[in-house]
Subunit: 319 residues, 2 copies
């Protein structure tokens, strides 16, 4: 082979990934990317791995896999109040992965990087004897000192969530054949998270995170980080119509299942109007579901008649 011929890996990169490359990516021809940080801004960095059979189903459409990989990371940026900038990724695939898989995967990324304002800075493609394994490092920016953290909630802050809770976990049940989904809404929500990029939470939320491991468990993280207890009212937790139609037997799944990618925020009552304004500007729904109060870190979920609910998984605790 003459030195000017390139192995198939390079052709794959040129065809499918180079069109995603942004400024500083050096056309993905180099060993590293350059990034001139926006002047006077702080960078926010996050990384997630996704493995076939663990985070997505092997026969999920590849464009949705690409979009989900990007979106779960953008969701982490959104939870900090950060503006997306760019991303690097690794793509490890079995040798017999058809070219159409890469084409679909890249097409999904193309749609969403345009939608959310990020470009590909660099990456690495390798083979694997195992399942498809992906990672994505996302980079965003905030005004210095304004990033929202898990810690910082104050007693008396209300607990808010964006969108609806539980659709992702129910969507997984649909994908596994355990639940009917006549409208397709639940499966779509499982496959394609809606990261709340653009909700301007800096200066409004005292603490926050995205809900990826389940509302109750993730609220437990906020409690621990802020050394507070939390009470939420199950009846106030916003459910989509399809989730409501699934019936009360699925309520625990909604509150403790994962894959919501909604934002969970601590907001002082005095900033409620500001939050509603920010949500309105971003075209997003926000719902108050409870409050933080002094006490050992724990989450209480109240059901009808304000009686505490006990869940098998992830969350319930006495005070």
């Amino acid at each position: 082979m003459p030195a000017t011929d390139l192995p198939p890996e390079f052709a794959l990169i040129a065809r499918h990934f180079r069109p995603l490359a942004g400024p500083g990516a050096l056309d993905l021809r180099d060993d590293a990317a350059l990034l001139t940080p926006p002047p006077g801004r702080e960078l926010v960095l996050t990384v997630d791995a996704m493995v076939a059979g663990v985070h997505f189903l092997p026969d999920d459409p590849p464009d949705l896999i690409g979009r989900k990989l990007l979106r779960v990371n953008l969701s982490d940026l959104a939870a900090k109040g950060a503006t997306p900038l760019g991303y690097l990724m690794t793509v490890s695939t079995p040798r017999d992965t058809p070219e159409a898989w890469y084409a679909g995967f890249a097409a999904g990324l193309a749609v969403d990087q345009a939608r959310y304002g990020a470009t590909l800075l660099g990456g690495d493609t390798t083979s694997t004897p195992g399942p498809i394994s992906l990672s994505l490092t996302a980079i965003g920016h905030v005004a210095p000192g304004t990033a929202v953290h898990r810690f910082g909630a104050q007693a008396g802050d209300a607990i808010w969530v964006t969108g609806t809770i539980g659709d992702g976990a129910l969507g997984l049940a649909v994908a596994l054949g355990r639940l009917a989904d006549p409208t397709g809404h639940l499966l779509d929500r499982y496959r394609l998270p809606q990261p709340r990029v653009g909700l301007a939470i800096a200066g409004i939320a005292t603490a926050g995170m995205d809900v990826s491991d389940g509302l109750v468990q993730d609220l437990g993280h906020l409690c621990r980080a802020s050394a507070l207890a939390a009470t939420i009212d199950a009846e106030q937790v916003p459910l989509s119509d399809p989730a409501r139609n699934a019936g009360r037997d699925w309520l625990e799944t909604c509150l403790t299942g994962g894959d919501d990618y909604e934002l969970l925020l601590a907001v002082p009552p005095a900033r409620e109007a500001a939050l509603r304004q920010a949500a309105s500007r971003a075209g997003m729904a926000v719902t108050r579901i409870g409050a933080f109060h002094p006490g050992a870190p724990a989450v209480m979920v109240l059901g009808s008649g304000r009686k505490p609910l006990a869940f098998k998984k992830g969350g319930w605790s006495h005070f």
Copy 2:
């Protein structure tokens, strides 16, 4: 389970990875890290994936796997002339991976992040039904506009390499039982690359990269990126004593095998003294092995009597 109990993943992170966390990592308790870019510097970003059975052997010692994961990325930073700053990583492991594996892996990272001046900013740990799959995104910085690229070599520039070439590829042959290694040097070089962090190539090299896919193939990349031809003299390519002792039958492996992680640089003759000074300050060896000249992108390797050598793999070409 009360909300304040954490799943085993969190305990694993707390025990093994939190001690690696640096400023901005928020103790790995948050969803994202913060990075205040060094004022007036440009960032350099690179990412590599490593999969068991592809990039390392499943029974390689875990500390060496961690060190190699970090070092191959630091090698990419070194090739840009960048100073390391921090890194994010993903670690996907089978469920039955023993705790000692994580302890060893993290211990290896601890040694090398101290040695090379980088800290862990963030990460993600997941399970996988397949082989151990790792990724690492490294972040460094350079004075704006001074990063060394693959393009930019000029006709007449000499071709230089750091260290010795071929040890990594021979080390893999040793690991596979195909070659004896009485001193252990070759296997050590395969398992533990020596990234040339600290060689101040900005303003000296007109182009450069690290040699990871084999000297001849990677020189082909520089030729294409700079639209030049290159000739190297096989007798000038620096070999370690163990590589030389392997005999001439292994020369092709040395020149076309991978895993060198030495720097391959284009340096104008007028800057030779500056390169030698920089190498001396960094305690590294540098050797001139050839030159770039006008012509279609191609690599010619001359053997004894300046006769072109033909290789089965990766590189040889007519002019």
